[in-house]
Symmetry: D2
Subunit: 346 residues, 4 copies
């Protein structure tokens, strides 16, 4: 298959943890009823309830875009609006899927660090009960954020209180929820269910799984029609047990924590090594597995020939470096060595 280039492009460029592969194989025995009525799925659901609270209702989908969109769809009507950060995945990286599928308006606010606050959101909190205006219904935040920062439970509680006070719900895009949990040193429930989150996309693909994300309803009464929406949203897996088995592996022996902890640690190491290099500036707090840096464009272009990574804001020559469960210290040393070399050649 040729040689695969390593890099820092995305945590989904990584492979699958061997323990997950084993779990998939273990599930590959004989027949199982399709579409989720199998014991693997029951067990995976039980594990997520264990981590998120007993009222949690769990539905697996194929990928993160779908988990976000289906979760939002289930609690909105098309005349609603969804409020989020302008950097959010649902705004920038889902090709308009939220609008197409939900029919809702997505309203955004600019943030310094990917984190929304009530103060920022207030500009969209008007027109309630006025038929000319799309009705605000859900606030969506991302944990860890697209900028690698992490909300504290307190910050989330404040947004949840604000949302609920206005009759809105709080959605969390947890594509990198494991990285956030490790960063905070807290169980998942602490900054989700207990902080007032209503609907959660629980992500696994970016943290060592092959595919499959979970839409989790953290309060009763929100998932009434979800089974139909998932099917109509083309996200009901026939051989569901192979998604579920991965989540069994994810929680076995704290695999998720080891993988996310490793990725976060590698980001910290990268931050350390980049600090002090002249011409390189880190632009966001490194709180999970992403490092945002400004560096000379010509340098970046050279380094990208060897290590794959993406520009973030071309206007200011800012780049995004993501680490993953399989990033090695050697990857980082090689990358930094090359970067320094290219800078010295300028």
């Amino acid at each position: 298959m040729g040689e695969l280039r390593r890099g820092f492009a995305s945590d989904n460029n990584a492979g699958i943890h061997p323990a997950i592969m084993k779990e998939i194989e273990a599930a590959n025995t004989g027949h199982a009823v399709g579409y989720g009525a199998d014991p693997f799925t029951s067990e995976a659901e039980r594990l997520l309830r264990e981590h998120l609270g007993n009222d949690t209702e769990v539905f697996f989908a194929f990928n993160g875009t779908a988990a976000n969109v289906l979760g939002l769809w289930s609690v909105t009507r098309s005349f609603n609006s969804i409020l989020t950060a302008s950097t959010a995945h649902i705004e920038q990286d889902e090709c308009g899927a939220p609008e197409k599928i939900t029919g809702c308006k997505v309203l955004t606010v600019d943030t310094p660090d990917g984190k929304i606050t009530p103060e920022l959101l207030v500009r969209h909190m008007h027109g309630f009960d006025f038929e000319h205006h799309a009705q605000p219904k859900v606030i969506s935040l991302t944990q860890a954020t697209e900028m690698g920062t992490v909300y504290t439970p307190h910050e989330i509680s404040i947004i949840a209180g604000y949302a609920h006070g206005k009759g809105l719900l709080l959605h969390m895009d947890g594509a990198r929820i494991s990285n956030a949990a490790v960063s905070l040193g807290l169980p998942f429930s602490e900054f989700t269910t207990r902080s007032g989150v209503d609907i959660l996309t629980f992500g696994g693909t970016k943290n060592c799984l092959m595919y499959g994300e979970a839409v989790c309803f953290l309060r009763p009464g929100l998932s009434e029609n979800f089974k139909y929406l998932r099917k109509q949203g083309m996200q009901l897996a026939s051989k569901m047990r192979f998604i579920s088995a991965q989540y069994i592996g994810f929680f076995r022996d704290g695999l998720w924590e080891k993988c996310a902890g490793h990725a976060n640690g590698m980001a910290k190491l990268l931050e350390e090594k980049l600090n002090g290099i002249s011409g390189v500036r880190i632009t966001q707090k490194v709180e999970s597995n992403g490092v945002f840096v400004i560096m000379p464009k010509s340098v970046a272009e050279e380094v990208r020939k060897t290590f794959f990574f993406y520009p973030w804001d071309e206007a200011v020559s800012e780049y995004r470096l993501m680490t993953s469960w399989d990033t090695t210290e050697e990857d980082i040393e090689d990358f930094v060595r090359l970067l320094k070399k290219e800078i010295s050649h300028q």
Copy 2:
């Protein structure tokens, strides 16, 4: 995980072929660019072109519902209509996904055996250019059909000619395309590309894969915007290489043919054993891996306690029995023995 009940409920109740598992493991080495820009995907695409024709454009999706809907979406506008059999998966088993996603009207015709013909379709072929009427744009057939029957290349050519003559396109839902190919003893291209099919859902999940189906555009010029539709349709896999690797395994050493051949053979065996049992009547030609039988409801209910399978038409006590790549002769013998016992107890 407890004991899993075997049965004839669906070919997607089966597991994954060990050779496919190996292929997935082989792809799990290091980093690969996400979303399909990896060598596994290139190779899988090449293999599909080899089997379907050099002009074929290939896009993987997660499941069959999505592959059907995205394929139809790419060649329609919302004011179009899609014509199909009333038994079609897009009509009965996708929870309205085609209407929701494409906005199109789905128009159906009743058929004796799941196979549409121009004569049946003619009732919907009117209102062209009349703005009050949804404009017919695609005919969709299923190969093998939901009734286990198989279209000949000639039958498909006739429908294709009819479609093209009216300015319509021909879509094939090939969820069980391997079973059809084995049944016909013909290469895939013979009853798809060469018979005039324009858009094909090439299925693998029902024939020993874990997940992943291919939307194949068999003529140039049909896929222009497809990459956006797939993403907005929430069907772009980040770790695409693990879908692609399965298709590499699917075509290696004719695995697809062995698996589908086995399933078809088991259906034939089941037919043989059921023939002549008093009170049991086979209702459709057994041409692929499904056997449709009328049997006393009380008998069926008893047998279903041991072997899982679905009613098809409760009004006439008709049941559907699907075989798969991993059905064994023992499965069939056990099933038939139990069935005979229950009939004798009546």
Copy 3:
């Protein structure tokens, strides 16, 4: 503006009754708050409640397609299905608007006379609670039907009972509700609210108005979000008073009854005159303002050069002749005379 050709093409080819014009002019005095918060609209709503029952909630829309689609939209989610006759306006003549706007599947049954029955509908009443299958939610009938026939209150009650027994709602497309009321000799409420209809499109445009139809919710609790759906459905009129004023005129001095009675009478006259003409056969009972006839195609083509009307079923040379509030006896005599002449020339 040149000469306008008279004919039997549609009741909406007619003009506006002078009394309606006067009512519009009377409303054209000074300022009125837009979007329905005006006294004309309150009065029109009161009048519709008077005729349909005190629990009725009334919302005006611009046209009949919109009134049908918005009414159906308000009581469905996209994973639902809508059951109707294959001749229904929502199936044949709205260019797929129901599917586009509601996302629902529209399922049809063939009928001999445009009238659905529980026996015909039963084929679509399955798959409840099964996530793969679009969930039946509304039955839609047309009164008077597209074939000019009229349901009795008893027939409607039976369908309503069947719908409600299965947890479905009953929708009536009343584009020609006045013609049905006159035909039955009953008040509107008798064959709507009291017969179990839940949502009603109350039509006026085909019975002497300029534009504007009413979505009427006949039972409490169905219109919760309707004001947003109407606005998002692009059907909220800014200068609403000019729709409302027409409905005030419609009910003043029984104008609606005179107009519909005249149209129905003209259809009866046309039927009489056509009866017994050799080569001409009336195919449906003439119960409202439509007459369906089979006649030689060559004759029809000649007559259509003078009188405008539409083919209904070209396969059998069937044509539709609609009368309206302004059809004259002379129109009919001239038409029949010409028809006879053309037949004799054959």
Copy 4:
């Protein structure tokens, strides 16, 4: 009907010009083919071509929201994005209709005066050809703007050039296009077709008509499927001649110009009278028929008991005052007198 309160709430609170009423009556003679195939519609289309250019294709819709949304729908696919000012009607006042109907993302920029510029839009001009990102396709501006300001032809040309240079189209929401034309002292074509606008909502309802707005395609090749979209969008009027007749009246003897000129003049008068009142500050240039003022909230609340008008930005106590073709000097004098009285009472 009780007494109607006059005010400055909206130009659509006004009635219909008597000359328009006469034109409607003149069209009410005998039969006319429905849905636009009538001589009134041909004439109205001809008049719009005369004013906008010979390549113009004209389609009438019921209201402004629909004209905007259908125009945008016709040139987009759901994976596109539409760029506009955060104050735009399509963003604030259409209850999410653009998202629901087109499926597109609507991206906004804040502006000081309702006028977009390339510099403001640049933040959304990225991600071209990147399947994860909604593809920018149309820029929409409003003329006159929602803030009462008016773009010069030069300003529009610059935006058009920018749009076309990036492969985008330029849409104009011309709900108040007459007010802009009068303000600029230029023919319509000068700041539309000749300035590079591609799709235009030509508004009449806010300038003395009863209902009916025109979607105008100013360049060939943009309207291919529009007739189907209009019907599926529930905007095809059956008795079209009564919309068309209004446009014939609109252009007869320059009625549009007199009406818009009067409204603009009244806004100027209002501005003059408000200038210099202590505690009252005009916040936007008065270039068409809207005056934006900051005044003490308590004063505004008192005055609103007599004259109806809307708050614009409650955070800063800003209000919007709209004049119309039937605003009188007396209205303004009475309003200003009352306002002064309330201020002196503070």
